[in-house]
Amino acid sequence: MERIDGYAPIREYALIGDGRTSALVARDGSVDWLCLPNVDSPSVFARVLDAERGGSFRLEPLKRFESARRYLENSNVLETTFTTATGRVRVTDAMTLTDIERISPMRELVRKVEGLSGTVALRWAFEPRFGYGRVETRIERRAGRWFAHAGADAIALGLCDAGEGALENGAVTGELRLGEGQSALISLAGATKEPAVIPGREDSERRLERTVRFWPEWAGRMEYDGSWSEQVTRSVLVLKLLTFAPSGAIVAAPTASLPEWIGGSRNWDYRFTWLRDASWTLDAMLRLGFRDEAHAFFWWLMHASRLTQPRLQVLYRIDGSVDTQEHELPELSGYRGSPPVRIGNGARDQLQLDVYGTVLEAIWLYGMEVGRLDGDTGKEVARIADYVADHWRDHDNGIWEVRGKPTAYTQSKALCWVALDRACALAEAGLIPNRSERWRDGADELQAFVDAEGWDEQRRSYVRAPDLRELDASLLTLVMLGYHHPRSDRMRGTVAAVERELREGPYVYRYRGEDGLDGDEGAFLTCSFWLVDAYARSGRVDDANELMAELVGLANDVGLYSEEVDPRTGEFLGNFPQGLTHLALVNAAVSIADAERERAA
């Protein structure tokens, strides 16, 4: 793996985590991104956003090496094997789960190194930079251990047969030499607002073993019978890493400001929960049998949105709060010179009406699965439906969070129809107060508007907006959410038009027109999986399988996807790994399986 100006290609990263925070590990053994204590906390390693001052934890052979890696079977534990001229070593990286037997560190990253053959000399460098590298990090040696701290944050470095380490230029560095059968262990024990727990080797090893056992047990609960099961399993493991266990919220991605184009300025913080993803998330969880996770996410969804109901904010913090104010960090240079680095997300102030459709769809899916909604929740849902009936005519920023002038996006209007339609279904099932007469009238008016103003007879397709006569890949969601029957002429025509105008090989662009922002962007992988889903639902199962096969080949070596891809080079772009891409993969695979069963019958 070659670094470019100190930066690893995004494709070369793998993710490890514990359900509270997660870390990016590059193929060359460097941990380049880690936020403590939670996924949305400031970083302690951010080399991915500034190779000079971001901070990292490197571990690599001293001499020239090649590396190969994999996740241990059905787990989020990463195994990297380094091969050198003198031998081979294996590094196992994991963020361990809490120990039930003995007190555990608040967060723990364990790196176990084992000699496989010959003798290999390695070096390591622990270079923590708390607070996105903006606050002074102190490193001290106390009672034979290295401690790094800044304010209320601290990390205790545990070294077992990995050398003593020496402090040099703000980093603790050391070397070790491992022969066949020998091993060493390095642990980072993080603490915030509490004393650091200092783990011994035995404790860390035990937690590592527990963590290795947990992941396949959890993944084994999946109920899926269809093709692409390896990719579906990897995707649900990614989604589990993106789930913030203390609240049940799911972040869109664990990173901030990885650019949508190298050198560009479309750099956003994705460590928040977008309500838009709600229906895809609940759909995926319920279709795969993860009912506990679906239950927890639904509770979070209804609880988090309480402060703003019946209006729904586009995104929420993982603790349910609404403060997601965006600001820039000029101290960091950005990934491969792609400033600005943004923390927080300004999209919270936008009106995006499609959110109501996905949320009502999620509530409907949940209600149908569980068979009941409690009284208070039912009243809240009815109030949200009333809000949609009153506000669907408003112009909004649309699903792509366009920072230009609001307009009447067709997809937003169609999803308002979905919201009112699902509210009627919930009312008819007796799950929410019945005001379906009003909601049905609104839905009919909406459908008449969308079918007249959002339809292009020449193209035989819906278009982006009445005043934007171009294609938009988000129109595929109309097929997936049953705006019309998936095999109707209008839906089939729209799928064909997206294919014709936005697809290039396996890649599908979101749109071709303006969006109020400077610079280019890559192809949006979620749209490619949406097209697979739409093919499957509209009866084009062979096309769905063919495109799915191409897309599966685009994942990196450990099965992860970013938000976007540069179609010319295959380079990953944007935040990584991207939850929506993996959600779309899961739902596309399940739709193919459903369509194949239907075809066989």
Binding site: N38, K240, H303
Partner: protein, 160 residues
């Protein structure tokens, strides 16, 4: 100063405290719902949890009033102002420890900062000074508890 006065103050004070917090909820200023938080320790059915939670909350209000009465007796003084000061201390205890540390530790359906991928809690923890439920929660909690304390103190002093 009588125990019956303190108990009557406990009942009235709890009604005022609960109503104030419910009002703040309805106005969209906080997501804190004490009956729900208490009741979901025993059931994940929201409706039942709220009913059970109200019973528990009122019981707590009366028990705390007895605690206030013990302090009034110890210092041989009760009154609106002194009760209000105790309410302030009570709010600090509730927001700084009882609800934020002890409740998540014993609540089977509530997440904690230590919950990991093995767990799927249904409720987010309140956070320091209950601020996970909205930043204004701390203000309302403080005011509601001061009102509760003042009522208990006033009733204890005036009745009997």
């Amino acid at each position: 100063m009588t125990i019956w006065g303190a108990l009557a103050g406990g009942v009235v004070g709890t009604i005022v405290l609960t109503s104030a917090l419910r009002l703040a909820q309805e106005l969209g200023w906080t997501r804190m719902d004490i009956p729900l938080l208490l009741g979901t320790a025993f059931t994940d059915r929201r409706g039942r949890a709220s009913v059970l939670g109200y019973v528990l909350h009122f019981s707590n209000g009366i028990v705390f009033a007895l605690g206030y009465y013990a302090i009034f007796r110890a210092v041989s003084h009760a009154g609106w102002w002194f009760g209000g000061v105790l309410g302030l201390v009570h709010a600090g205890l509730a927001g700084g420890a009882l609800m934020t540390v002890l409740l998540p530790a014993v609540h089977p359906r509530m997440g904690t900062p230590w919950s990991d991928a093995e767990e799927t809690p249904l409720l987010e923890s309140p956070g320091f000074l209950l601020m996970n439920y909205g930043r204004r929660t701390v203000v309302w909690t403080l005011l509601a508890h001061v009102a509760y304390g003042a009522i208990v103190g006033g009733f204890a002093a005036q009745l009997g």
